[in-house]
């Protein structure tokens, strides 16, 4: 199945495969955070609106909220992060994903940045 990755200005990513969105934080975000020591994930079945707090990621220094860029019900969470939160640093775009939602409104992803636009965006932050 083809997949498409989009990004928010708050450095969440959403990988869309059919009607399922996998949400995590970008490589840039994990670099900015530093060593992740704790990730709090929502319960499966929870209904999230676009922009709702979906998870919390904590480094030694600080806690950061992760919002969902698209609305939908949580269908799966990455339970491995509970015991190995450092996976977010090692493989943010892969094994370090946070949660999956069943997308309720596919058009919500239209306003997000694609990879090229996001790379330009973070270059502008330096």
């Amino acid at each position: 199945m083809s997949s498409e990755v989009k990004y928010t200005e708050d450095h969440e990513y959403v990988r869309i495969e059919g009607d399922v969105a996998t949400i995590g934080i970008s490589v840039y975000a994990q670099e900015q955070l530093g060593d992740v020591v704790y990730v709090e994930l929502p319960e499966v079945g929870k209904s999230l609106g676009k922009g709702d707090e979906a998870a919390v990621v904590e480094s030694v220094k600080a806690a950061s909220e992760v919002s969902t860029p698209v609305s939908g019900d949580v269908i799966e969470i990455n339970g491995e992060l509970e015991t190995t939160p450092g996976t977010v640093n090692e493989d943010a775009m892969g094994k370090g994903w946070f949660l999956k939602v069943k997308i309720s409104d596919a058009s919500e992803a239209d306003g997000l940045m694609d990879e090229a636009a996001y790379n330009t965006f973070i270059e502008g932050l330096a």
Partner: protein
């Protein structure tokens, strides 16, 4: 991903003499107390923290305020009208931790006072105060002590070298410093520069704080960094190290509203000062020493993996609000979340079970003794 950063004013940031060295080392620079300071280096907060406990960490703390206070009379006695510490009893070459108090016995700042050897008939004290308070502190000291002279040492950097390898590293540059006792002080000459060396720190580890003339700061730092045991450490790890060591951070764990007794700093007030008083807020402090306080600073260990940050409300198990977390995070050496805060004194006993209200959910925690990681100070042979 939204992060809650401490905001700061738009005033231009000051730089320490080591600024370019930090940038060249790849530091992430952040605004802190009016300065552009390194919060972490490429090693990362976790790695920097663990390295300091394992070998030696070098911290640029040049933003802190340094000054020499002197007078023709006994400056050690004179400053006792501002602080509850026993400064008159301090011998030359020794350092003491104390607090500048307000009239209500609250803490204006905490500081280190060293009695320097006298010079030209003047008794001298070397002061090191917190960066965010330094202007107010020095104005307060200057206006309170009439005939004393306060010389600000703005032209000096302050470099901390902390960790079990600190003494072997510094001994190579400064022979004899490995024999210094904890909380002792020496002035030494290094390559023609006058250094002030205190065996103390803010990590719970053995180590030193070295005051270096600004012009010599880079070469001195580079010589220390040439040792394989030494890594640059940022403010992020400085905070997690002091939290594990159970040490207060001014403006968070202590402030104008907390007394040294509530903050459990009574150990820093000698028997003579307790009975004689003669410092701001003495009546409150003497009363609190006698009757106890309604709240106390305590160590708190969250039971689960979620850190409880500053501002987290503490509940008793019956749901009553009984306190607040003033510092909290993950303890890299402890290997789990650690916190400190204030609770009502009836809940302050070690082992008391509590709930921490993190993101609206009650999470179990226990009152625990501090430090969370055993201190490793050098007490002499």
């Amino acid at each position: 991903m939204a992060q809650n950063n401490d905001s700061s004013s738009d005033a231009p940031l000051l730089r320490t003499p080591l600024h370019d060295l930090h940038v060249a080392a790849g530091a992430r620079m952040v605004p802190f107390a009016g300065y552009e300071m390194p919060v972490s280096y490429p090693l990362g907060v976790l790695g920097e923290h663990l390295h300091t406990r394992d070998k030696a960490g070098l911290f640029d703390v040049s933003h802190m305020g340094q000054a020499v206070l002197s007078s023709k009379g006994s400056i050690a006695q004179q400053i006792e009208i501002l602080v509850p510490g026993d400064i008159a009893a301090l011998d030359a070459g020794h350092t003491r931790y104390t607090q500048l108090l307000n009239d209500k016995g609250g803490i204006r700042d905490d500081l280190m006072i060293t009695r320097m050897p006298g010079e030209e008939g003047r008794e001298r004290l070397f002061l090191v105060v917190n960066a965010a308070c330094k202007e107010a502190d020095f104005a307060h000291i200057d206006s309170s002590l009439g005939d004393a002279r306060l010389d600000l040492l703005d032209n000096r950097a302050l470099i901390a070298l902390q960790g079990p390898a600190a003494f072997t590293v510094l001994e190579k540059l400064i022979p004899g410093c490995s024999e210094m006792a904890f909380m002792s002080w020496r002035a030494v000459s290094w390559n023609g520069a006058s250094l002030f060396i205190t065996r103390s720190g803010y990590t719970g580890e053995d180590g030193y704080e070295v005051s270096v003339p600004a012009n010599n700061a880079v070469s001195f730092t580079e010589q220390l960094l040439a040792d394989d045991a030494v890594e640059l450490i940022g403010l992020g790890a400085r905070d997690s190290l002091r939290l594990e060591a159970g040490l207060c951070l001014y403006g968070h764990d202590i402030d104008e509203t907390t007394s040294p007794i509530e903050a459990r700093l009574a150990w820093s007030i000698s028997k003579r000062r307790r009975s004689e008083g003669g410092f701001p807020g003495a009546a409150r402090i003497q009363r609190e020493l006698h009757d106890g306080t309604t709240r106390k600073r305590v160590g708190i260990l969250p039971e689960g993996p979620a850190p409880a940050r500053e501002g987290t409300i503490v509940h008793a198990q019956d749901g009553d609000e009984i306190g607040i977390i003033t510092s909290g995070g993950f303890g890299p050496t402890y290997g789990a979340p650690v916190a400190m805060g204030y609770v009502l004194s009836e809940y302050a006993a070690t082992g008391t079970k509590l709930d921490l209200m993190v993101r609206g959910k009650a999470r179990p925690a226990t009152i625990a003794a501090m430090p969370f990681v055993p201190a490793n100070f050098y007490r002499g042979k």
